[in-house]
Amino acid sequence: MKGWWWKGLSVVLLLYVVLVGLHTPLGPALVYASLDRIAPGPITVGATGYNTHFTKETPQVWLENDGYRVCAAAVDVHSDVLLQATFNVPPGLRSNMTSLWAWDATDGPVVLRDAFFTEELGKDLQGAGCTVSTTERSGFSFPNRTILNETIRNLFFHVPMWFTMMVLMTIAFVQSLLVLRKGNLAHDRMALSAVDTSLLFAALGLITGSIWARATWGDWWTSDPKLNGAAVTVLIYAAYLILRGSVPDPHKRARLAAIYNIFAYVLMMVFLMVLPRLTDSLHPGNGGNPAFSQYDLDSSLRAVFYPAVTGWVLLGVWAYTLHLRTARLISIADEANDR
């Protein structure tokens, strides 16, 4: 079973990713408030939670405006995810955005940030208002972020595709260098297999990204440096295949394809690294968006994301070796036929 352990490892890791990645619940959060603006005076707000446990113990509910808290006068729990709170909003809140908070021992603090537009501002209120508990909840869950919600799980099925693609393209790049050094057709075959397989993962990355973008940004395709980079990458490798198709002599084909691959790979890497830093992007870590490390601050995501990347990359390399071995057999058969 020599040489099999990493294939098994990829399967085990991906199994872990599917099970834990899909089965871990999202952390509780507030997702919806029945009002979108508040004014001084009594108000009643319905709040919808997600994966919350309001019925276990009536939660504390409060409004927070620029550090000043207004606790609910009455809280009426309808179900685990639905409650109604009545507030006496004092005049003179400082900020025009007010957040809605709730806390109970099971769920910890949950918040709907900037839930209400606030009318009749002033500067009279001093201090922090009423006191509330902020004890954090314990337990393993993924962060529940606005807009992303459950789709945060796609992190394990979309992002690793690009990692895998880059690994395979790097293999192709190294093999192309070897083609030029040694003039060996075996290396050319490896480069071609790596490119072929990397295009599978590029396609998967584009499709999954497109589905995810539709659900979060509302469009199948947005003009984003990451997407432009991906499109350019796919075009370059399509051109690589066309170049190969147009040269009949195998040795010349190997050399020309290797030269193009090296040229394209280096320029593409520079492009992928530099351009997103220069322009705004919807992707985390670019432009005005929070960095990926901030997403991963939650160690729960990291505990699945790293195995996911490793698992997918190993699976990609496995696919590459299968492709390569088939190509090798085909070329042996072709040689035998020619003889």
């Binding site: 899909l22 089965h23 997600y50 179900s79 998967l204 659900a215 088939t326």
Partner: protein, 78 residues
């Protein structure tokens, strides 16, 4: 041929449906569950995982065909 595909397909679908059924179902009223489902967007995750599996399956079929040709070639030789 058809029968051999059905079982793994059902297993995959069950695997996909499992997380949906475990946390989408709560005691919430129907309209609310619908809302939650919309805001939870678990369907997107199912679609993404499904797309990945379909993509890999298509790739496997392509490889299958290549190997099939090889086999035919070897058989013709004999």
């Amino acid at each position: 041929m058809k029968l051999t595909i059905v079982k793994p397909l059902m297993a995959v679908m069950a695997l996909l449906a499992w997380p949906v059924s475990t946390f989408a179902a709560s005691e919430a009223p129907g309209w609310l569950q619908e809302r939650m489902f919309a805001s939870g967007k678990i369907n997107t995750v199912v679609m993404v995982v499904g797309a990945v599996l379909i993509g890999i399956a298509i790739w496997m079929f392509a490889l299958d065909r290549r190997i099939g040709k090889l086999e035919k070639n070897a058989k013709d030789k004999k």
